[in-house]
Amino acid sequence: MDTAIHLPEKIEGIKKRKSRRSKDRKERKRVKIFSGTGGKVKIDKKMKKLFRKRAREYNSDDDDDEANPEVGEANTRPLEEFSVGNSSEEEGIDGSDPDAVEEKGDSEDEGDRTQPGITKFTEGCRAFRVAFMKITKTNVSDNSLGPVLSAQKRLIAKKLAEEEAEWKSKGDAKKEKHLVGEKGHVKPANFLDSREKFLISVATKGVVKLFNAVNKAQNAQKGLNPSRFKDAKALGKRQKEAFFSELRKPSQAVDPPAKGDDGPAWAPLRDSYMLTSSKLKDWDKMPETTVGNDMDGIPLDSSSDSSSDDD
């Protein structure tokens, strides 16, 4: 009767557990597929019991007396397991006592039957629990420098000082690099000192000379129309004369820094300025050729012949 009653429960339980376990099994199967390892096949606890039962039945010589208590035991065991299974579901510490009781009971039974590779469900449960509790108890400190002791502060200060020194050296190196790059760069003064004034005056004189020369040259040609050929010749002549006379004049007004040179100070005025060949030295004494509007730099005037001997 008992058995009959219990069996359906057991079957239900088994069914329940099977359904639940089947999920696990499927998951485990999936895991097994992915990992691809030929690991040890985990046998369901219930199935283990079943196997054992079958093995016993097969092995036993079948005394009814032996069989009965064994059957009874077999029956009680699943009961116990059922209760144990429930307790384990609840994660209960409550199950510890029945565990302990069952352990003893089981150990008596299983003493002569060793089945390697299959750990007891109860033992496995307890071990896991114990390990888990141990882990949750330990507590890793946050401080990477070491335990919080009196030397902690000194350690921190040292590290900070090191970092600052590093930054400082980098900053110094950058500054030095910048200084080397700026070498020679000078900001000019706000006022004009004497040197600058002198330079400006030199430049001004040059400009004035040029402008006056241009003025003369362009004024002289105002009357003449450059498109007329006859005028054009006269134009050319007049330009050259005007230009040279103009340039010769102001050379004395401006005092050249002491050079021991004779002859006109200004290079183009000298007879031999840009004289490409000595043949042309006295060209104006040679037979007359037409002087076109050719600005080729053949020096003109014979009046400067006398001063041709310099140096």
């Binding site: 790059g181 020679g184 400009v207 004289l275």
Partner: protein, 343 residues
């Protein structure tokens, strides 16, 4: 949305689209590249930019240089574009250096830059800085002074700098287009060359300050305290101290320049500094483009070796060259020798 990136275009994007031959003088217009070799600190990069602006309009203002470009790349581009001079900036631990070289095989002058000031520094030091953009539409004039007697390297320097800027023809040049001037002054004792860059301004002389300012600034004057307009015009204001001493700086203009400077009236020439300021020292002269035999070495033996190839690059320039030799003296004998070699 740039779908197609401009890959691997030529690294040089010049702005110069001018004619290569001057229509007036018939000479080839010299063009230049200003670039740097090696990594430059930021102030030297500003100096490079200032030098580019100085050389306008005949230079590539937005020249793009990559790290992997060598001198050969620049030379290859210079040929077809008609670029005649290179100005190369570089830096060592001691000082920055400026090399002025004539392409394609011309000599190279190496200058050590002792001191430099950028254009922005100069503008900051002035009370009223002046830099209108029209200044850079025409080439500057160049004035070389103090280079004096016949040292070969100095002569070379003068010739080189004269040829960097295009020559002007005084018969046709418009005075309004001469707006900038570059000055190179050589100091014999210290052997340093002062490099300055000025802007030219013309001011009518003989006009009282008030009227001049009024005409130039178009600002209505304050007549509150005056009885009559004639008071404003005839009031004797004191002239600034600079007006007194430039009798030598007055010019008779041949044409009208601007609104205020009329023809055949006296005008004063006023220079104001713009642009970079440098103190240079000539260190080395080499025969080739940064290669070749060393003709002059400040710190070595003086080798006065003039190859024919060297001097043939100095064709005698036209008489009406924009460069003015002030106090520049050439010994006749040296000149003859130079010219004979160029035949």
């Amino acid at each position: 949305m740039a779908r197609f990136h401009n890959k691997k275009k030529a690294f040089v994007k010049p702005v110069v689209k001018k004619q290569s031959v001057d229509h007036v003088t018939g000479d080839k217009i010299p063009k230049s590249f200003v670039f740097s070799r090696g990594k430059l600190p930021s102030s030297l990069r500003h100096l490079e930019m200032d030098l580019r602006k100085l050389m306008l309009p005949y230079t590539a203002l937005k020249l793009k240089e990559k790290k992997r470009n060598n001198l050969k790349d620049f030379l290859n581009v210079a040929g077809p574009m008609g670029v005649t001079h290179f100005l190369i900036l570089s830096k060592t631990e001691t000082a920055p250096y400026l090399r002025v070289a004539r392409t394609p095989q011309g000599p190279t002058l190496t200058f050590k830059i002792h001191e430099y000031s950028l254009a922005v520094d100069v503008a900051q030091s002035q009370l009223r800085p002046r830099c209108p953009p029209e200044l850079f539409k025409s080439s500057p004039l160049i004035v070389l002074s103090g280079f004096g007697t016949g040292d070969q390297h100095l002569k070379l320097t003068t010739i080189m700098f004269q040829n960097i800027f295009p020559s002007i023809d005084i018969n046709t040049v418009k005075l309004s287009s001469c707006q900038r001037i570059v000055l190179l002054n050589y100091n014999k004792e210290t052997k340093l060359i002062d490099f300055r860059h000025y802007s030219i301004r013309l001011q009518p002389v003989g006009v009282s300050r008030r009227i001049r300012k009024f005409v130039q600034n178009h600002q209505t004057p304050d007549l509150r305290n005056l009885q009559d307009v004639s008071d404003f015009i005839t009031k004797a204001g004191y002239g600034s101290e600079s007006e007194a001493d430039d009798e030598a700086a007055t010019v008779n203009l041949s044409s009208d320049i601007g609104r205020v400077n009329k023809a055949s009236t006296k005008s004063a020439v006023k220079l104001q500094e713009i642009g970079p300021r440098m103190t240079l020292q000539l260190i080395k002269v080499e025969e080739g483009l940064c290669t070749g035999g060393v003709i002059f070495n400040e710190y070595g033996k003086f080798i006065f070796h003039l190859g024919c190839s060297l001097m043939s690059y100095y064709k005698p320039h036209g008489l009406f060259n924009g460069a003015l030799f002030l106090f520049c003296f050439f010994r006749k004998s040296h000149l003859d020798r130079l010219m004979a070699l160029s035949l």
